[in-house]
C-alpha cells in the first residue's frame, strides 16, 4: 500500500477541514475533515453551496493542496466545462469523489 494513499485518506485537523459556504462569508455549519466525510457532505449540503465552491475552484484546490490528491483534483476540474448546476452537479461530483474514495479504500486494504 503506497503511503500516499494513507495520506489522502487521513483525518485532518479542524483548521484544514473543508468548510461549506453558500456565498462570501456565509458558512452553512457543514464541514469535512477527510475524504470520506467530503463524499458524505457532497450528498447532504445545500446545492447552492456546491455551486459556490465548484465555480470558485475551491474543491480542486482543497483536494490538491490539503488532501494532496492531484488525480481527484484533475477529475473535478475536468467536468467544469459542462457547467453543471443543482442536482446534476451534486450527482456528478458525488460519482467522481465516491468512486475515487472507494478505489483508494480498497488499495489501502490491499
Amino acid at each position: 500500500m503506497p503511503s500516499s494513499v494513507a495520506r489522502i485518506l487521513r483525518k485532518l485537523p479542524r483548521e484544514n477541514a473543508f468548510y461549506f459556504f453558500t456565498s462570501i462569508g456565509n458558512y452553512t455549519g457543514e464541514n469535512a475533515s477527510s475524504l470520506e466525510e467530503f463524499v458524505k457532505k457532497i450528498g447532504e449540503v445545500n446545492a447552492k453551496s456546491l455551486e459556490f465552491h465548484f465555480y470558485r475552484g475551491d474543491f480542486e484546490k482543497w483536494v490538491a493542496e490539503v488532501l494532496e490528491d492531484g488525480e481527484l483534483a484533475e477529475e473535478i476540474m475536468s467536468f467544469k466545462n459542462l457547467k453543471p448546476v443543482g442536482d446534476a452537479l451534486r450527482s456528478q461530483l458525488y460519482l467522481i469523489v465516491s468512486k475515487r474514495f472507494e478505489k483508494l479504500k480498497s488499495e489501502f486494504r490491499g
Binding site: 479542524r14 483548521e15 468548510y19 459556504f21 462570501i24 462569508g25 456565509n26 458558512y27 452553512t28
Partner: protein
C-alpha cells in the same frame, strides 16, 4: 462625580464634557468651558478625574482609509455559536487584526456580531473560512457586506 457602589455617577457637566470630547477630542479646555459656561480649569479638572477613573479610556484617531489610497471593504459578520464556547470565540475574534468590533447578543440564540475589514471579497472570505469557521463552537456564520453608509463616524 461621585463613586456609588464602585459605579461612578456623573453630573450633567461631566456628561456634556464627554459628549463634546466624543464629537472632537482635540477641542481645548477653554472651548469646552465656553460652550458650557464654566472655567477651563473646571473642564481640566473634570477630564483629569474621568481619565483617572477609567471613564475616558483613550483618545484615538479615525483614519479615512480611502483618502490614503487603501482599498478596503467592511462587513458585518454574525457568528452563531455553541453557548459554552461563545466567550472563547468572542475573545479569539477580538485578537484578529481584521476585526474592528466584537459584541454579543442574545435573541433566540446567542450571537456574536463583529465588524470586519478586508481588502476585497476574496480576502474577506479567506479570513472567515480559514480563521473564523474553524474556531471550536462556531455553528454557522452570516455575513453582510456594507455597500453604503448613511450615518457613522465622519
Amino acid at each position: 462625580m461621585k463613586l456609588k457602589n464602585q459605579a461612578v455617577s456623573l453630573d450633567s457637566l461631566d456628561w456634556n464634557i464627554l459628549q463634546a470630547l466624543q464629537e472632537n477630542a482635540k477641542q481645548t479646555y477653554t472651548e469646552i468651558g465656553r460652550r458650557f459656561g464654566v472655567a477651563h480649569s473646571t473642564v481640566y479638572d473634570r477630564i483629569r478625574r474621568m481619565e483617572e477613573n477609567g471613564i475616558i479610556k483613550k483618545y484615538t484617531a479615525t483614519v479615512d482609509l480611502e483618502k490614503i489610497g487603501v482599498k478596503h471593504m467592511t462587513a458585518i459578520m454574525t457568528v452563531f455559536t455553541d453557548p459554552k464556547e461563545s466567550e472563547n470565540v468572542a475573545k479569539k475574534l477580538s485578537e484578529a487584526e481584521e476585526i474592528l468590533e466584537v459584541s454579543t447578543s442574545l435573541s433566540e440564540e446567542l450571537l456574536i456580531i463583529a465588524k470586519v475589514v478586508a481588502k476585497d471579497q476574496d480576502k474577506l472570505h479567506s479570513f472567515i473560512a480559514q480563521k473564523v469557521a474553524p474556531l471550536p463552537g462556531v455553528l454557522r456564520i452570516r455575513t453582510s457586506i456594507i455597500t453604503r453608509k448613511y450615518k457613522g463616524e465622519k
